[in-house]
């Protein structure tokens, strides 16, 4: 555990863990070609980056509850060093997802893009991305200092709203309910519920 925590503390580890998943599509496209992927590689890439954005956002949201539930444990402390990096990486993947989508629907003009962007399914994704952009910009040190800890914390609770929108967007992207949404976001819900339960207990007056 101590060794794992020591490895996780390194920023090189964190950077590798957020960058490497994004490179995965190179495998089925270039290394072991998969005809299902090659049918529309850009579509595969855009869906994949959207998925990575959701996973990273969910992962970032598990760090604080882990710290509260296991106070002083080395691994949660190591993970919490990288909370901002993981959150900003989720935003970066969401931007890549949008960029790839924009290219995917480019039909010589932006007609298709513009006629689709107002549909509720796409608006949810855009709104989630908008929130993540605000949170990314305000994650810089000067913004934290300017806002003050309390206001910064309140603002950054919007990450939960972004996660809910992202999950909804992901569900709506499919014709049939995609179970991976549960795999990705259920741990966040469970951990947050446990944290709420724990903090509620500790805040209760001792009288």
């Amino acid at each position: 555990m101590q060794l794992l925590a020591r490895i996780l503390r390194h920023s090189a580890t964190a950077w590798s863990l957020v960058i490497l998943p994004g490179l995965w599509p190179a495998w089925p496209i270039f290394v072991v070609p998969d005809f299902t992927v090659l049918t529309d590689p850009l579509k595969y890439i855009l869906l994949y980056w959207g998925l990575v954005a959701c996973v990273l956002l969910a992962v970032a949201l598990t760090f604080s509850p882990l710290r509260v539930l296991w106070p002083g444990a080395a691994v949660p402390l190591a993970l919490n060093r990288h909370r901002r990096l993981v959150g900003v990486a989720a935003c970066a993947y969401a931007l890549l997802h949008l960029a790839a989508h924009t290219r995917h629907v480019y039909d010589g003009s932006f007609d298709t893009f513009l006629s689709e962007v107002g549909k509720p399914f796409q608006l949810k994704g855009l709104a989630a991305l908008g929130l993540l952009l605000v949170l990314s910009v305000t994650s810089l040190h000067w913004a934290v200092r300017r806002l003050g800890a309390r206001r910064w914390k309140a603002l950054h609770r919007l990450a939960y709203v972004a996660a809910a929108l992202a999950a909804w967007h992901q569900i709506e992207a499919r014709k049939v309910f995609p179970p991976q949404v549960l795999l990705i976001f259920a741990p966040v819900v469970v951990l947050q519920a446990a944290r709420w339960w724990r903090e509620r207990g500790s805040r209760a007056p001792a009288a």
């Binding site: 496209i29 998969d34 005809f35 049918t39 995917h104 480019y106 010589g108 298709t112 006629s115 049939v176």
Partner: protein, 323 residues
């Protein structure tokens, strides 16, 4: 000892397009672009397929528009929506080829007809006079398109064999129901069995077709072996796959996707660039296999380019409401 290092451009014999298909002008450029990558991974699984009667098929010159470039066989047979075998596009190719049998296959033709029968798929193809090949545009409701050389016979011939009574107004197509052997049917992703329907005049249209093959070979399991409905002016979900029953009825039936999400999918499902899907635009489509890595998008044509032939079927019908 000679250690031969194959150059990056080398393709295995199995990647060669058969001469017969070469003349179809498939998107060779696409394969060439990916050639280097393809050489490493062409250990495709053995594909199982359905009805083998009727081959070689006769090319029908009336349905070979030289402007249409058929999508490569590997892409047509790798990117499939066939939820009986899983909801991922690549699932059917794997799951439909794990010993699931489509030969022998019996189809029941029943309902308001003078000649109800149960017939083996191969025998049916023979009764229909063998298979002919037609190159049709294919447009999925998910805004992507292919060009597919289908082999099979006109649906009108089958209807003539069935000899419908005057009360018959609609034809329904039922896919198999085999949850024991088919993984997707053990889930509740859709209501099983998959069910589709056409108006009798639509079904009698000369473009409506029953496919038993692709590219002059028996249709692979993942593409709907051994009998698949093909209605090129409609979205792909209307193309009922692996049909076990063709029933002639008096009332308009509800099709599977209409039952699942009625605000998104209707009975007609005619390709229409002016009527959007609630979640995306239908004004344009990705052309599968074209345009290299970034791909290519083209404007979607009314009735998928078959407006001249099929528009009279829908004269006076509000296509916005009857989507």
């Amino acid at each position: 000892m000679l250690i031969r290092i194959p150059p990056a451009w080398e393709l295995p014999e199995s990647a060669c397009t058969p001469e017969r298909d070469y003349h179809l002008r498939p998107r060779r450029d696409f394969l060439r672009t990916l050639g280097g990558a393809v050489a490493g991974g062409l250990a495709a699984p053995t594909l199982l397929s359905g009805a083998t009667a009727g081959f070689p098929s006769r090319v029908n010159p009336d349905h070979r528009d030289p402007a249409l470039q058929p999508t490569p066989y590997e892409l047509i047979t790798s990117y499939c929506n066939f939820y009986e075998f899983g909801t991922g596009k690549g699932d059917p190719k794997v799951n439909a080829n794990r010993g699931w049998k489509t030969e022998p296959w019996t189809v029941e033709i029943s309902g308001l007809i003078r000649n109800p029968l149960q017939i083996d798929a191969n025998e049916l193809v023979t009764r229909m006079g063998g298979a002919e090949q037609r190159v049709y545009r294919f447009r999925c409701v998910e805004a992507w398109s292919m060009v597919i050389p289908w082999d099979g016979f006109p649906l009108a011939k089958l209807i003539a064999l069935a000899d419908p009574l005057p009360e018959a107004k609609f034809v329904t197509f039922t896919t198999f129901n085999d949850p024991k052997n088919v993984p997707g049917q053990r889930s509740s992703a859709l209501e099983w069995p998959y069910f589709e329907g056409l108006r009798l005049d639509e079904a009698n249209h000369p473009l409506a077709f029953i496919a038993t093959g692709i590219y002059g070979r028996a249709i692979p399991n993942q593409n709907g072996a051994p009998l698949r409905l093909v209605v090129p002016w409609k979205y792909g979900f209307k193309y009922g796959k692996s049909i076990v029953k063709i029933d002639f009825v008096a009332q308009q039936p509800r099709n599977t996707w209409q039952v699942m999400t009625p605000h998104e999918y209707g009975f007609y499902a005619n390709v229409n660039p002016k009527v959007d899907h609630p979640r995306w635009s239908q004004a344009s489509e990705r052309v599968i296999g074209a345009g290299g890595a970034l791909g290519q998008r083209q404007r979607t044509l009314m009735f998928n380019g078959y407006e001249g032939q099929v528009a009279p079927l829908y004269a006076g019908l509000d296509l916005r409401r009857n989507y």
